[in-house]
């Protein structure tokens, strides 16, 4: 390597001091705000914190620019009104609440709808190149559950555009980035955050961050399931860090299974097929060639959904006089319908159903609007989506549940601990609409960054201090997997957990299976207590997985326990033994905490925050 920045004696990419001469072989850094995670939410939060004057660090498990946001395809939902001047925040707010089956935190849904347009414009200020309307404005596309074409997009690679824009902004501002660095503990001083503990993946050495504000932006939990669209990083780190620090999670029973994941070849099973395929005219058919979604229109959406093929097809060009096609119902509805068709024996040869855009749009249109999908199917499945239908099936995609936070500041129950993006809870209620995730990252990323910065500044000299005993404990805990002999390797336990969650806590749930899953999780916990890792601490994926697996286990238990408690079906939680929604359950959240012993999960009910009268009017 050239020694471009070795002048300061540090590794040029990671900033790492490899000397080992620091006290205890440990690095120590002092910041106002430490952001854990460098996807859309983390980067936006860091930019906001930096601009508010805070000394800010971004700490991320992968290289900068590789976070899961890069996979987002469809777009950013924001009522900019570029295609439909009738669109405004009130319509977006209503769509979001109805999509979440009214279980959303109303204030978050409101703030999101109001602030998303400006957050999108901001990306353009920083260099993003969105697709345009004929008038030269940012184009907006149709998506499930959104009344108007509302998603700002760049072909079907919007997430890549978003993360690159934010990454380039963060680099331009000179924000410190600790890449390939994993946070394993959040430290407290009394009831306040004091800092965080992390290890470098490259060297295995430890770092202590002294910081009064920690923003968790670690994404989701999909790696607890076998069939998922999520990357290896999605091990519920932020969820688990928050619980261990004393914060609570809400809505953990609500897991979104995206209706359209690839089903073949096996190695890409679960890989996402964007909802834009349907937004741009694609339809779902079973093995008998039937467009089956018309059979699955729920009462809740009947008034706004087309019930004939003619009306559905006319909607794409004339939204005023036609209702939406049933393929564009919210994701939970479509995923359940697909699941039913497959179970009824009307699936495709590889166990999915058909998603057909080839017979509906020209090859030119498809290649222009869906370039990544075209490429993905061509390269990985030998399927030309301009000529033949895709085979797809549901895949674990997103967790609505997350850290319980204050809507305006994103602060958790622990002072100085914030959560934003997928690892926070409330915004999406029981089901997230497509396009609302990217908006969520931007709107609440900015809010969290600003509030974390303000709080840190307010402390002046009276900062919480990291207790050295906590540092020693964190280090011992991280090294524990090396101390064991004769146990299993973490890959086997992870794989068994994924299979178990897929089979027992999947898209359709029952009491018996959920109880079985909780028993299984107890056994996994015991196995994990004695797992072993081979090799040494330098870039050792086995060790990294062993540490992540603890988070996956605790989060899996949260999901199963909340799913067992909620005896109704709503959004991303479907109980075969309680098939309908229950109005009583519609008034409360389930809250989970780490139990006293730190070995399991406690659960209690909590009333939903009540919407003010003026907002209730939108749902009359």
């Amino acid at each position: 390597m050239t020694d471009m920045s070795a002048a300061n004696g540090r590794h040029p990419m990671t900033g790492n001091e490899l000397s080992g001469e620091a006290a205890g072989g440990m690095e120590r850094h002092d910041y106002d705000v430490v952001v854990v995670g460098a996807g859309g939410a983390g980067l936006r939060a860091a930019i906001a914190a930096h601009e508010a004057g805070a000394r800010t660090a971004i700490v991320c498990k992968s290289l900068l620019g590789k976070a899961h946001t890069v996979m987002a395809e469809g777009g950013i939902a924001a009522a900019m009104g570029n295609r439909w001047p009738e669109d405004n925040w009130e319509v977006h707010f209503r769509d979001t609440m109805r999509g979440g089956k009214m279980l959303n935190n109303w204030r978050m849904a409101q703030l999101h709808a109001q602030e998303a347009p400006e957050r999108v414009q901001e990306l353009e200020d920083w260099g993003a190149l969105f697709d345009r309307t004929d008038d030269g404005l940012i184009s907006q596309r149709d998506f499930g559950g959104h009344k108007y074409a509302r998603l700002a997009h760049v072909g079907d690679r919007t997430g890549l555009e978003m993360i690159r824009t934010l990454q380039q902004r963060a680099v331009a501002l000179g924000i410190d980035v600790f890449m390939e660095c994993t946070v394993t503990d959040v430290f407290r001083d009394g009831d306040k955050v004091a800092g965080a503990f992390a290890y470098w993946r490259e060297s295995g050495r430890f770092i202590v961050f002294d910081a009064p504000s920690v923003i968790l932006a670690t994404g989701g939990i999909g790696k607890s399931f076998k069939v998922t669209s999520n990357s290896w990083e999605y091990t519920g780190d932020g969820h688990a860090l928050a619980m261990r620090a004393g914060a609570s999670l809400i809505n953990m029973e609500f897991v979104q299974f995206h209706p359209t994941g690839m089903v073949w070849p096996p190695s890409v099973k679960g890989l996402l097929v964007t909802e834009s395929v349907r937004g741009d005219g694609g339809i779902l058919k079973n093995s008998e060639g039937k467009r089956f979604m018309f059979d699955y229109i729920p009462e809740f959406f009947r008034a706004e959904t087309a019930d004939t093929v003619e009306e559905a097809d006319a909607w794409y060009d004339d939204k005023k006089n036609n209702r939406r096609p049933p393929e564009l119902l919210p994701r939970d509805e479509v995923a359940r319908a697909i699941n039913s068709e497959i179970k009824a024996g009307r699936g495709t040869p590889h166990g999915g159903i058909y998603l057909d855009i080839a017979s509906r749009r020209t090859p030119e249109f498809i290649r222009k609007r869906l370039p990544s999908m075209y490429h993905q199917f061509k390269e990985l499945a030998d399927v030309d989506i301009t000529a033949e239908p895709m085979e797809i099936g549901p895949t674990c995609h997103y967790v609505m549940g997350g850290v319980e936070v204050d809507a305006d500041t994103q602060e958790s129950a622990v002072t100085g601990l914030y959560a934003v993006g997928e690892c926070s809870g409330g915004m999406h209620g029981s089901n997230r609409l497509g396009g609302n995730s990217l908006g969520d990252l931007l709107v609440f990323g900015k809010r969290a960054g600003e509030h974390a910065s303000t709080y840190a500044a307010s402390l002046a000299g009276a900062r919480p201090r990291v207790d050295e005993a906590d540092v020693r404990a964190a280090q011992a805990s991280a090294l524990a997997p090396f101390e064991v002999e004769g146990g299993e390797n973490p890959y086997t336990i992870q794989s068994d957990l994924q299979q178990s969650m897929n089979d027992l806590v999947g898209i359709i749930r029952t009491r018996a299976e959920l109880e079985e899953s909780l028993d299984a999780i107890e056994v996994f916990k015991q196995r994990a207590a004695t797992m072993v890792v081979e090799g040494h601490r330098q870039y050792n994926p086995g060790w990294h997985l062993a540490l992540d697996l603890r988070n996956m286990l605790i989060v899996s238990e949260c999901i199963a326990r909340a799913a067992l408690a909620r005896e109704e079906s709503r959004g991303g939680h479907t109980r075969d033994d309680f098939p309908g929604p229950d109005p009583e359950w519609g008034t409360k959240n389930l809250v989970v905490n780490l139990n006293e012993a730190g070995t399991g999960v406690d659960l209690h009910e909590k009333p939903l925050p009540e919407m003010p009268e003026e907002l209730k009017g939108y749902f009359a």
């Binding site: 390597m1 050239t2 471009m4 920045s5 590794h11 040029p12 990419m13 992968s62 290289l63 900068l64 590789k66 899961h68 890069v70 996979m71 414009q121 353009e124 200020d125 920083w126 260099g127 190149l129 697709d131 345009r132 030269g136 404005l137 184009s139 760049v154 072909g155 690679r157 890549l160 690159r164 380039q168 680099v171 331009a172 490259e202 990357s231 290896w232 990083e233 070849p265 096996p266 190695s267 890409v268 890989l271 990544s372 993905q376 390269e379 990985l380 499945a381 890959y491 086997t492 794989s495 890792v533 081979e534 090799g535 040494h536 330098q538 870039y539 050792n540 994926p541 086995g542 060790w543």
Partner: protein, 258 residues
């Protein structure tokens, strides 16, 4: 359906290493990264490899497969004969950290040296207007997933460590071109592209274009037009005269030097 793949993987660190045999069972439809993961899960738990999306979208799992720079997640086993040996080695242009993981900090350093987009004020209604046809040029370049395979294959730095200081590489020429073609950007980075980034050192052999997993025409659409734009500025007599007599500090498109 399944067979035992003759897989060989480079194991080692900055002090050296060697290619080792890892025969592993693979099945229909799998890619090289699947085989690597199976080795990790069953034979070598500490095998170091970078990956994230496993869908060709994040650009993390870059390596050399039988000597060719590839994304391991997009490298299908069906492209090889079943009795063929597949050898996976780390990217050669970057220093090894461990096994298949290399130190790609060169790229992050170069990114820091590049002035980012600087747009003028928004339109009076708070929005911006650009024609689709104008954003499409930059959009092609923004498809880049930063896998750094173009940097790896580029012979200016592949076997010439000493060139790294003064050469940013194809990935960043792409970025210079993207910003230069941005309809609303106000900065002129041509001087910088030629000087600090070493655009002139590229002799357009198109190796970068060949390995790009996104199919971006790096040489034809970014590097060559960028070279032409630099030349335009350098030898435009009006520009030269204007600079000389201090009458103009802006180029003919109204941009200023950063």
């Amino acid at each position: 359906m399944s067979y035992v793949l003759k897989l060989r993987i480079w194991r080692g660190d900055k002090d050296g290493g060697e290619v080792k045999d890892y025969p592993v069972e693979v099945s229909e439809g799998e890619v090289v990264l699947d085989a690597i993961h199976r080795v990790q899960g069953t034979q070598a738990g500490d095998l170091a490899v970078r990956w994230n999306c496993k869908a060709g979208k994040c650009g993390s799992c870059s390596a050399e497969v039988n000597g060719r720079p590839r994304l391991m997640c997009m490298c299908r086993l069906s492209d090889f004969a079943e009795d063929e040996t597949i050898t996976v080695t780390p990217m050669r242009t970057f220093p090894v950290i461990r096994d298949l993981v290399t130190d790609v900090s060169f790229n992050y350093e170069k990114a820091k040296q590049l002035p980012s987009a600087q747009l003028g004020p928004r339109d009076p209604d708070g929005k911006r207007r650009m024609a689709q046809v104008d954003v499409e040029r930059g959009q092609e370049f923004r498809k880049c997933i930063e896998c750094f395979l173009c940097q790896d294959v580029c012979h200016v730095v592949r076997d010439h460590e000493d060139n790294k200081e003064s050469f940013a590489g194809p990935r960043f020429f792409l970025r210079y071109a993207e910003l230069d073609m941005h309809p609303l950007d106000t900065h002129d980075r041509r001087e910088l592209a030629q000087g600090a980034a070493g655009l002139g050192m590229c002799n357009i052999t198109k190796c970068c274009t060949e390995v790009c997993p996104e199919g971006i025409k790096i040489t034809d659409n970014a590097i060559i037009p960028m070279k032409e734009r630099v030349v335009d500025k350098k030898f435009d007599p009006l520009v030269w005269l204007g600079d000389k007599i201090g009458l103009r500090n802006k180029d003919n498109e109204g941009r200023t030097e950063p």
